[in-house]
């Protein structure tokens, strides 16, 4: 049984006839970590907004475990979202920011536990403005995992961080993901980041965006951004599909089934 099924037939913004997304279809297994790579402006954020239900103005549908999401009377799915900016409430303390998304009575203990997971217990009473960028991302990560999401959406969550901080957050993310078994969609424009994190990478074309290449990553974990296996795979992708990062798969990929075509 498939976890997530996304079928976008056509998506354009109100008042415009130009399609942002067109015939964009893919599935993700339950518990799978899928990275989505594409040129900037290709509609990656729009795609996540559609899957999260923030944007419901489209032709198409989103299913999770065979249930239709974001239609009238649909049972709300547990979806976590880590945005590009941490988007914490600046007037709530770290602890209050986590409790905001919890309904349970014992939310203080749950929130404290989540803070322990991201090693932020000692700043629970700080306001987000008093934290560093990396710490704010950790709070945002804790907030997304704390409600035990079935589906976790991440929109370039680690851009504009220095390399060591990003690497620490990568490790933390993988640990929390393994514990939660959430299905993850991780949007990035950084191919190395995608290769070092994901079970599978989807490459999007430029506007209107569709999936041009769907590639499983077989490198065993733990991997790091600068591992030789990751570098080798990165180089071989760029060699075979020189324009993949600007949204073109190249002749070979389009003509044949691309699934699992490339291995190291």
């Amino acid at each position: 049984m498939s976890g997530l099924e996304v079928r976008v037939i056509h998506k354009s913004y109100p008042g415009s006839r130009v399609a942002i997304l067109k015939d964009l279809n893919f599935t993700a297994d339950s518990g799978e970590f899928v990275a989505i790579v594409g040129p900037s402006g290709a509609g990656k954020s729009t795609l996540l907004n559609i899957i999260s239900g923030l944007d419901r103005d489209l032709q198409g549908e989103v299913r999770y475990q065979d249930r239709l999401l974001h239609v009238n009377n649909a049972q709300p799915a547990r979806i976590g979202f880590i945005f590009q900016d941490p988007r914490l409430m600046p007037w709530l303390t770290v602890l209050e920011n986590l409790r905001l998304v919890l309904k349970a009575e014992n939310s203080i203990e749950v929130a404290r536990h989540a803070l322990r997971d991201v090693e932020l217990v000692d700043v629970e009473n700080a306001f987000p403005g008093q934290l560093s960028g990396g710490m704010q991302r950790r709070v945002a990560m804790a907030r997304a995992f704390i409600m035990q999401p079935a589906l976790l959406l991440m929109d370039e969550p680690f851009v504009s961080l220095d390399a060591p901080t990003a690497a620490r957050l990568h490790t933390l993310l993988l640990k929390l993901w393994r514990e939660s078994r959430a299905t993850v969609l991780f949007v990035t424009h950084n191919l190395r980041e995608a290769l070092s994190l994901a079970d599978r990478v989807l490459f999007l074309s430029g506007s209107p965006a569709g999936v041009v290449l769907d590639m499983p990553i077989d490198i065993p974990r733990p991997r790091h951004l600068d591992d030789s296996a990751v570098s080798a795979l990165h180089d071989s992708i760029i060699r075979e599909h020189p324009e993949i990062l600007s949204g073109h798969a190249g002749v070979q990929a389009v003509n044949s089934s691309t699934h699992g075509e490339i291995h190291v």
Binding site: F81, F83, L92, G129
Partner: protein, 249 residues
Amino acid sequence: MAQLTDSWLRFLSLAGFMLAWQVIAALVAEPLFPTPLTVLYRLWEFLTVGQLLHHLGITLARVAASFAIAMAIGAAIGIIMGRFQRLDATLDGVLVLALNIPALVTIFLCYIWFGLNEVAAVIAVALNKIPTVVVTVREGARAVDRQLMQVAEVFQVSGWRTLRQVYLPQLYPYLIAAARSGLALIWKIVLVVELLGRSDGVGFQLGTYFQFFDITSILAYTLAFAAVVLAAEAVFMRPLERRLVRWRT
């Protein structure tokens, strides 16, 4: 340390003002320009044997009632106008008109239509204040961060919690600004309303003393009134503001 310095500055400026008043009044030596000591003595008489506290209390009650009504209605209209663009465009003309109607006209109309009573007095004051609250709060509602509202939506935060912890905190600075300027305006208009159509309250008393050119009594009432305003600012507005924006460190 900075806190202390600020309060000292506040105190020193008031003390300097009093001193200048005393010196000038002593030089002029004229019954129509009493010294602050004369005024303070009169104030003491009013407090001990006169009815100042009674009138002050009535005026305060009117201020509180019209302030609460003006803030509640003004904030509600402001939020709705800031949120719905077409409604905003529809009501904007009326709002500009309401902003520019002289207070005196509203007061006369209320007294004529609703009678010379308490309800008319409070409505007249509130009507004068509502448009300015609307303008300030609308600005805040327009500036609400959609990205934070999306967070509440994705994480399925309940409507009530979203209002209290996500939406309203973004409006607090605007609500505080509206309350500040609101109090200042309402204090003044309440006195006019009392002068024109009530038989008690500070405004009525001032009117009576004006008939006799009793400057000392007028200033004594003014002093009592000013003391209340300063106290309200120090005890109520400033601590509230500090609490609501304490995250801005």
